[in-house]
Amino acid sequence: WKEEDGVGVLGRELYLKSLGIHNGKRRVRGLSSSSSPRVCIVGGGPAGFYTAQQLLKARQNAAVDIYERLPVPFGLVRFGVAPDHPEVKNVINTFTQTAQHERCSFHGNVNVGKDVTIDELRQAYHAVVLSYGAEGNRSMGIPGEDLPGVFSAKDFVGWYNGLPSNKELHPDLSFETAVILGQGNVALDVARILLAPVEMLKETDITQNALEALAGSKVRRVLIVGRRGPLQIACTIKELREMVNLPNTRADMLPADFEGIAEALKDLPRPRKRLTELMMKAVKEGGDDKAEKCCGFRFFRSPVEVLAGADGKRATGIRLALNKLEGSGESARAEVTGQLEDVDCGLIISSIGYKSIPIDPAVPFDPRRAIVPNEMGRVQDTAGLYCSGWVKRGPTGVIATTMNDSFDTAHVLIQDMEAGKLDLSVNKPGAQAITALLQTRGVRTVLFSQWEKINAEEEKRGKSQGKAREKLLDVDEMLKIAWS
């Protein structure tokens, strides 16, 4: 048979699948006599890459294939980490080494669940690892949430980081006050990007349209609102320090929110103590009166309604309920007091958490916790199926957290191989079969070397603007360059 670009004949496809042969053009891997384990990883972000890395290291004959929906790899490292935190993205170097490993291959532009099913993957591989993260977001569940002017932090971050599905977001930045619900590191990132001097951003990989929008932004005051108190704030000290040190921006805390905090300091472990001390310093020092911008933290407040103007057409404010705290420490709970407070604002960003979604009905999913139910990474009741990263544990933690978690899943998988829980005596065809199958469905994959063409183009475009890169925003354009 000749290699063709177009759709294969159904009969040929079935024959190929049954034998695991692909004629001529590629190395035949599936017919070796001993058990070379083939593992499939769904998701090309940090969880996928770190799981792959550990599998390749721990098993010298394992072959690992990473499938990713977008043409470009790296997930939230590319689309989540703030543009002014380029050093956090250094992990891309180790991911690149993994992708270029002779026993690893990357396949972009494959939508698992739509272009190929989990069952089909399980037939072609000895084991499948779900590492597809959390692409949804928790909603506030309040009236007015869908009004223009209200965004999830996931979409706002996706917008300034060039996620193709957020390129048409066009947030209106012509209002003086923005309110962010949530006080984690994502909320702090959003606040910092909204308030940072443009000089700080213009050499980063922030998208050009976001940079231009921010250059023309009228936002001068950002409130970061949390349900509970200063001792429960979820951000880390590095991000808080960046906010306090932001040029031309005053940190604005309410002394009333800090009643009783000084007394609690001595019993706190060092990390929480230093974080709290930094906030208290900001309360005490007040901040530079000459600063034109202001970042205010507000505690003990929960959103109850987004308020619309007289014409009801867009958000013009937010109604907050005042809380009191029951209990203390991490397990303290916010209880309603009945008091309300309205804040005028034109931009509302809800940063209360990402959320995983089910991608294939064949995979168990826990809708309450929004994760794939598992025991140490082994998917419940499903032999040969594993998970790592946020889809396994929930959407919290830094890259290193996901790294350790992914190493754990890899170890569990290796253990299962060595204990004979996965039948390695059966040959599995791996990527050859899946690529052939995808071809019959009109889906062509993007290989890592083809991503590198996209990468080179982005760096080239960025260079002409004095930026680290100019990300391509359009999937079709990415594919055109990848396959050129």
Binding site: E87, I233, G397, D405
Partner: protein, 179 residues
């Protein structure tokens, strides 16, 4: 290029990239040894190795599996350099390549040695605060440079845990979950 030379190369490149991207928000306090040595290629280091044999320092790493790894390294190298240059098998060490953007190069020192190391910058402390199993003699390896008087020191590689929440529940009731 061998794997560890490549890693040294990209680490240096990362340092240089970061230096090129200095912004208002923070000046990273790189230890003198890192900023001083990034112009050396590995080849030059290998040559001067033999010329400067007296500046070698012995360091022992007590790995997570309980095994001790002993290496000889040069004064001036950071402990991250030592791990990378000697291709030591420590899982996930130095993820951010020495730019104070993670805590994966966390090492625990003997008390007497720790006291000799000097003051810790706020930036290092901020990242160290996120490390699992933080002790009073913990430092980030990328910020500690070898000196002759550290010869023979024993460094413990701390265990890691995957769930930051479990970490915080165990160590304190008020440590934050982090994204």
């Amino acid at each position: 290029m061998s794997a560890c030379a490549l890693r040294v190369f990209v680490q240096r490149a990362a340092v240089m990239r970061k230096a090129a991207h200095q912004t208002f928000s923070q000046t990273r306090a790189f230890p003198q040894c890192v900023t001083g040595s990034y112009t050396h290629s590995r080849g030059i280091n290998t040559l001067t190795n033999s010329l400067r044999a007296e500046e070698k320092v012995t360091v022992h790493f007590l790995n997570r599996d309980g095994k001790r790894i002993t290496v000889k390294a040069l004064t001036g190298e950071s402990l991250l350099d030592v791990v990378v240059n000697n291709d030591l098998d420590i899982d996930g060490f130095g993820a951010c390549e020495g730019t104070l953007a993670c805590s994966t190069c966390h090492l625990i020192f003997e008390e007497g040695v720790y006291k000799k190391l000097g003051a810790v910058s706020d930036e290092e402390m901020d990242m160290l605060d996120l490390a699992y199993g933080l002790t009073d003699t913990s430092r980030l390896g990328c910020q500690v440079c070898l000196r002759k008087d550290l010869d023979g020191m024993i460094l413990r590689v701390p265990d890691v845990i995957s769930d930051a929440r479990v970490d915080s529940e165990k160590e304190s009731s008020t440590a934050p979950p982090k994204v």
